[in-house]
């Protein structure tokens, strides 16, 4: 029921058009990139999935990450803008369920945006690489993997938005962290597992053990942010 309520609250906020436009923009990136200069890609020796993901995923994941940041900010802005949050706090409903309800909406829309992106990559493979069933499987596996990689960012940004009453602060934090990824992306080690870096992981470039490690870290970070948010609500309740 909480998720259904969260969907209703987002009417007329520009949230759904933003996700649709952002998802389409991210999906258009590989089509335009490959369509404009196919000769740069079709003659490469790697598998189509590696070529396509390698050439496009960085831009696509950046756009989708930014979309997620904006989405999380809009969601909590509707709560804070006209003080609706205070009314919610006076109803028999825990703020934790509000938070996880919002996360579930973002989850569905992130999955939708990834499906659009996956479809665009599949189209590129079909059009320029005469790709086969193995490619199709590889692309959808990549999208599934990327969905898991987006989870820590999703929880992290929703948590930041729930803390900052001023949307511009949460948006600023999200944007700065996102730009940091472009500085950090060449460095390996522990920094590559930060929530804002995780969506940049390219599944076809990872071996089995690396992919499993990423999935475990993603699950751990997701659970960690969820737990931190619950602790934050407890602290807020006791110190206001």
């Amino acid at each position: 029921m909480t998720s259904a309520l969260e969907w209703n609250k987002l009417k007329r906020t520009g949230f759904f058009p933003a996700f649709l436009a952002g998802g389409l923009l991210a999906a258009a990136a590989p089509v335009v990139n490959i369509g404009a200069r196919p000769e740069s890609f079709v003659n490469k020796q790697d598998s189509p999935a590696v070529i396509l993901m390698g050439a496009n995923w960085q831009l696509m994941s950046m756009l989708l990450s930014f979309l997620l940041i904006i989405g999380a900010c809009i969601m909590y802005h509707t709560e804070f803008a006209d003080n609706a949050m205070q009314r919610m706090d006076t109803l028999p409903k825990r703020p934790e369920s509000l938070f996880f309800g919002k996360c579930s909406v973002l989850l569905v829309l992130t999955a939708g945006a990834l499906v659009l992106g996956g479809a665009a990559l599949w189209f590129c493979g079909w059009k320029w690489f005469s790709a086969d069933r193995i490619f199709t499987t590889e692309i959808w596996k990549s999208m599934g993997f990327s969905f898991a990689m987006f989870l820590p960012l999703l929880l992290c940004m929703t948590a930041v938005s729930s803390i900052c009453k001023n949307m511009w602060i949460s948006l600023g934090i999200g944007t700065i962290c996102l730009f940091m990824t472009s500085i950090l992306q060449n460095g390996g080690g522990i920094l590559s597992y930060l929530p804002f870096m995780m969506p940049m992981k390219v599944y076809p470039n990872l071996n089995g053990a690396q992919a499993v490690r990423c999935l475990i870290i993603s699950c751990g970070e997701t659970a960690g942010f969820g737990l931190l948010e619950i602790i934050y609500f407890k602290i807020r309740r006791n110190f206001t």
Binding site: N8, T13, Q86, R87, T90, P92
Partner: protein, 251 residues
């Protein structure tokens, strides 16, 4: 029988005491007028009742439920309107109430019922952000009244209303105990307003309860203490002034 009782309820911030050692008693089925100048601690007290802020000391019971153990139970039985109207500006008045209805698990008819009670039926499809101040105030009241809760906390509910609106809301509040067997705690800084609505009143100044009782008892106390008693507003002002003077002397 008292439905709400506080025991030495205190709220302190770093260097400021908002509510000090408050012992309140609100009878079931009464309208209790909570009176005090701006910053007296009325809203803070109501916020403590709703769990929006935690008491520093003391405790309270609402319908035999204690805070914080029974907070959810308390919130189920209470309708509230605190400080300013709180709503989703991107939703219509009706959609705002629909969200509250779903959370409280009320029947669908409760939305139209609440809109009717506050006279917003014809504006139910308008976006809440486009409401006038008075209409926002009415929407806030409707969200407190939805489902006809047994206890209502209304913090300065007539702010921003025109004289006709003030009269309507006042009449509505006055009628609630009889109509719906409801107990109302209504705060105001205007004694004439409280005088017309309340069965009992509590006068708060700088977080301290200066008086609690009915209007008759207030007059008797004023006579006894030598405050003017012909006009209750003068009584209130004299009490507050005297308290401020004592505080000044104490410091």
């Amino acid at each position: 029988m008292n439905i709400i009782e506080t025991y030495h309820l205190t709220k302190e911030y770093a260097d400021f005491t908002a509510v000090a050692d408050l012992n309140m008693h609100i009878r079931k089925g009464s309208v209790y007028g909570f009176l005090g100048p701006n910053g007296a601690g009325k809203s803070t007290t109501m916020k403590m009742f709703l769990g929006l802020t935690k008491p520093t000391k003391g405790r309270f019971t609402i319908n035999s439920n204690t805070f914080p153990r029974d907070r959810m139970k308390i919130l189920r039985e209470v309708g509230s309107f605190i400080e300013a109207p709180a709503f989703y500006g991107n939703l219509t008045g009706e959609e705002n109430l629909e969200i509250i209805r779903k959370i409280l698990g009320l029947p669908k008819s409760s939305v139209s019922d609440a809109l009717e009670l506050v006279g917003l039926t014809q504006y139910r499809k308008r976006l809440a952000r486009k409401y006038s101040l008075g209409m926002k105030q009415r929407l806030g009241l409707a969200s407190a009244l939805i489902g006809r809760p047994p206890i209502l906390f209304l913090d300065e509910p007539t702010n921003g209303l025109d004289p006709v609106g003030i009269h309507e809301i006042r009449t509505l509040i006055r009628s609630l105990p009889k109509k719906y067997d409801c107990t109302v705690l209504v705060s105001s800084h205007l004694l004439p307003e409280v005088e017309l609505m309340a069965d009992d009143i509590g006068i708060l100044n700088h977080g301290r309860l200066l008086f609690e009782g009915n209007l008759q008892e207030l007059r008797q106390m004023a006579d006894f203490e030598g405050y003017p008693s012909d006009n209750l507003e003068d009584t209130f002002l004299a009490m507050v002034e005297e308290d401020n003077r004592k505080r000044g002397a104490g410091k």
